[in-house]
């Protein structure tokens, strides 16, 4: 085995000139490791390699195949090692790890990208996606703690489970910032938390629903996602406004009744199925509130299949691009929109302030805003599509 590696070094060193400075070989050169290995191996390489092969009973073909596979492994690993690796040897740059809930949802990508942009060149930023798995995110945090990152910006996959790995970071003296979902563990130290004011957003959604129903009232459906604290708060705010509307004198004939509240998994296909079932049970639905855009779009898909789009108004949440486009096309009535980019920018600002020794607030809530069809038509971001 030792000999195999030596052989690889020999070959990768030859290709180093061709592939520029991003290759594994270039890094090996820089570290000086390769030079030593090459020198030590030079005399014994050929003789011993063939002796070894004979010893293991390898034929010529197998030897070639094995070597090829080894080279592929080196190549694959080499590709992942980008400029960042070289930069990390400069000790002056502060290493910041951004750990988002998932990179599948553009919301978190926007947040991470905005934060990275705001942090600028004096920071070395690396983004990791947690696949919505608390366990995976915990391991990622642990890996960054071991590497002694200077700061971590986390959007937790799970408000409680993230406590344990954050405690590890605290113990190693690494400052932790959170965005979007707050860490609910009381024993951890968070420097700053930036989030949308979800309760206020829920209330806005309630206002939009009352407006959409044109003061007539009727039966509505709520598509929730109980796993996320933020989504619970949205539903809470929404219900608060609906209750207040129902109790208001003069609204006796315009009661809004939540006939069902179903789990949407915060994604399209699940909420489409749930909406379809709900439509079978309640043909008289007039409104649906979904806790985020993918769930709202799932509901819209079900409604369009049943051809009920004139009867049912959908309110979403988030203001992702897909949601905004649907609002422009009149498929979703309105969204309280969040500002992921602003969230990323604020988080980055607080990280910078932290290192500069300025005072920082422990929490920063960003109020959402309602976004209607008219806003979407005027939105420059959507104009090219």
């Amino acid at each position: 085995m030792i000999l195999n590696t030596c052989h690889n070094n020999y070959y990768t060193s030859k290709t180093a000139g061709l592939r520029g400075k991003n290759t594994t070989a270039a890094i090996l050169f820089k570290t000086g490791f390769l030079e030593q290995v090459k020198r030590a191996v030079f005399y014994v390489r050929i003789r011993k390699y063939f002796f070894m092969m004979k010893f293991m009973g390898y034929g010529h073909m197998r030897q070639m195949l094995q070597f090829g596979i080894m080279m592929c492994l080196v190549f694959v690993l080499g590709c992942g090692t980008s400029d960042k690796q070289n930069a990390s040897s400069e000790t002056a740059k502060k290493k910041v790890g951004i750990l988002v809930q998932t990179t599948v949802n553009p919301f978190f990508l926007d947040l991470a990208e905005a934060a990275q942009k705001e942090l600028g060149d004096s920071f070395e930023v690396t983004t990791f996606g947690g696949d919505n798995s608390a366990d995976k995110q915990a391991k990622q945090i642990k890996d960054l703690v071991v590497q002694k990152f200077d700061a971590l910006l986390i959007t937790p996959c799970n408000a409680n489970a993230v406590g344990a790995p954050i405690r590890d970071a605290n113990e190693a003296g690494i400052p932790v910032f959170t965005a979007d979902t707050a860490c609910l563990d009381p024993d951890v130290k968070i420097e700053n938390h930036v989030a949308t004011d979800n309760l206020a957003g829920g209330r806005l959604a309630g206002d939009a629903m009352i407006q959409a129903l044109d003061a007539k009232g009727g039966n509505i459906l709520v598509l929730d996602y109980e796993q996320a604290e933020s989504c619970q708060q949205r539903v809470e705010g929404f219900k608060e406004v609906i209750d207040r509307h129902n109790q208001k004198p003069g609204n006796e004939n315009a009661q809004i009744k939540i006939v069902a509240q179903l789990p949407s998994k915060a994604e399209e296909s699940a909420s489409q199925k749930q909406t379809k079932d709900a439509l079978k049970a309640n043909r008289d639905l007039v409104g649906i509130f979904a806790i985020n855009d993918p769930a709202a779009l799932g509901a819209v898909a079900a409604i369009e299949e049943e051809k009920l789009q004139d009867q049912i108004k959908v309110i979403g949440f988030d203001g992702q691009k897909i949601g905004k486009l649907a609002i422009r096309d009149g498929r979703i009535y309105a969204d309280p929109i969040q500002f992921p980019k602003l969230m990323g920018q604020y988080s980055a600002m607080y990280i910078k302030k932290y290192f500069a020794g300025d005072k920082i607030n422990p929490t920063h809530l960003i109020p959402p805003e309602l976004y209607f069809q008219a806003d979407a038509k005027a939105d420059a971001e959507l104009s090219e599509e």
Partner: protein, 447 residues
């Protein structure tokens, strides 16, 4: 029997059984080479070194010690204070963030004793107030060493695979009997949730004592063992295909876990429960000791006992095993129960590591476990495989996952790499065992 080639055949046997260890070593070497970075001394030793370099300054100095508030940083600051020569004076020890350092520096200037020297760690040296200060900055010397080979990191790797590796013991046994168990991921969730609910509802949540924790943990494991026994019964008694039975169990158990936890995270768990998942014994996590001891037991069982031989016999040829007196059904019951039990143990460890329980834990873990077993050289056809090979397989997966995080690979690429490496590793294993011939490869295209 003594032949000149005996030595060689031993070597070949080893390559056959544990060939994957070479892939593991290879990955480790590559990762060591690409993660070479500046490393600083930490803790008391670093403090002593910094104090010595300050002591080399002849004239008296005002020293400010600025560190983050990590555990090792506390030791660092203490040892500087102890070792510093009498002529120097420590004007302030700041153990928190940049803001406090900036305040302390200002205060020192105001009080007429401005700091001449700032003793800092590698991390606090980067703080703006420290970097911009005119005082002389002294930090521990750095040396070059791979991030990958830092003792902390090696422990992290062992810790991250414990759960996968422990469950993989049971999975190896199941796969050796030519079966498969897809329900282990859900069992992790079930066990975590049962343990969490027991602690919360029966033993008073955060106030639970050690006895309560033991009972809850054992309850989680026991429930999973019973589920495993039930799965084994369905497979052995009704001759249902293991794939279908365990697929159904996977859904069923995940559903039960969701119902039990009411789809919420159970976090009313006392701090003392951390011991299992995060406690250390002689510098190595307890869960890692547990993993290694389970592997030692499993190795003994599989290679030195009748039970072990019978498990291989069932997988090799069930009918032949039955005819030669092996009680096949009992063996099947045993392996599925053991697999369930170990998955339960894995769930309790996850619950302890994250100090919370949720029904979504262990999602897709069954596939990682199966990958570890297969990479470890166990054949899905049954009858072949080595327990220690599985441990190596688990380490390969752990090393790749950790290594990709170390080289800052983004997660889309991580999936591609992990997938490719698993395919290549299994292929390499085949080639090592001499089961791939050029003729066969060509015949694919000739047919």
């Amino acid at each position: 029997m003594k032949q000149p080639s005996k030595h060689i055949s031993n070597w070949r046997q080893f390559v056959n059984d544990y060939g994957m260890i070479f892939v593991l070593l290879f990955l480790m070497i590559i990762l060591s080479m690409v993660t070479v970075d500046h490393q600083q001394l930490v803790g008391a030793a670093a403090g002593r070194e910094v104090a010595q370099s300050i002591n080399r300054i002849e004239s008296p100095r005002n020293v400010l010690i600025a560190t983050p508030q990590g555990k090792l940083d506390v030791e660092f600051a203490q040892s500087i204070e102890q070792e510093l020569a009498k002529r120097h004076s420590v004007i302030a020890v700041v153990q928190s963030g940049p803001r406090q350092v900036s305040l302390a520096l200002k205060q020192a200037t105001v009080s007429g004793h401005p700091a001449d020297v700032i003793a800092c760690t590698a991390a606090s040296a980067k703080w703006d107030p420290v970097a911009e200060s005119s005082a002389q900055k002294i930090k521990p010397a750095s040396y070059r060493w791979p991030n990958f080979l830092m003792p902390d990191n090696l422990v992290t790797i062992a810790q991250r695979i414990t759960i996968i590796a422990i469950i993989a013991i049971g999975m190896t046994m199941v796969i050796i009997t030519a079966g498969i168990d897809l329900s282990v991921g859900s069992l992790i969730a079930l066990s975590a949730v049962v343990t969490g609910v027991m602690i919360r509802d029966c033993f008073g949540g955060k106030e639970a004592d050690l006895f309560g924790l033991w009972c809850s943990g054992l309850a989680g494991i026991l429930v999973c063992a019973l589920v495993g026994l039930f799965t084994g019964l369905l497979i052995a008694a009704f001759r249902l295909p293991p794939f279908i039975v365990t697929l159904a169990m996977m859904l069923l158990i995940r559903g039960i876990a969701n119902v039990l936890s009411d789809q919420r995270t159970i976090h009313e768990i006392p701090v003392s429960f951390d011991m299992l998942g995060k406690g250390y014994l002689f510098g190595v996590p307890i869960s890692v000791w547990l993993m290694f001891s389970l592997y030692a037991i499993a190795y003994f069982v599989m290679s030195r006992t009748t039970l072990g031989r019978q498990i291989y016999a069932v997988g090799g040829n069930e009918e032949a095993a039955r005819l030669s007196g092996v009680r096949v059904k009992r063996i099947l019951l045993i392996v599925y129960t053991v697999c369930g039990l170990l998955a339960g143990l894995g769930g309790v460890i996850v619950c302890s590591q994250l100090r919370s329980a949720k029904a979504s834990y262990g999602m897709m873990d069954e596939l990682t476990v199966i990958a570890a077993v297969v990479v470890g050289g166990t054949s899905l056809m049954g009858g072949q495989g080595k327990i220690l090979g599985t441990l190596i397989g688990a380490f390969i997966i752990g090393v790749i996952q950790n290594g990709m995080n170390l080289v800052h690979m983004d997660d889309k690429t991580q999936m591609i790499v992990l997938g490719s490496v698993i395919v290549l590793a299994v292929l390499l294993d085949r080639i090592k065992k001499g089961e791939v011939s050029w003729k066969e490869i060509r015949s694919v295209f000739n047919n």
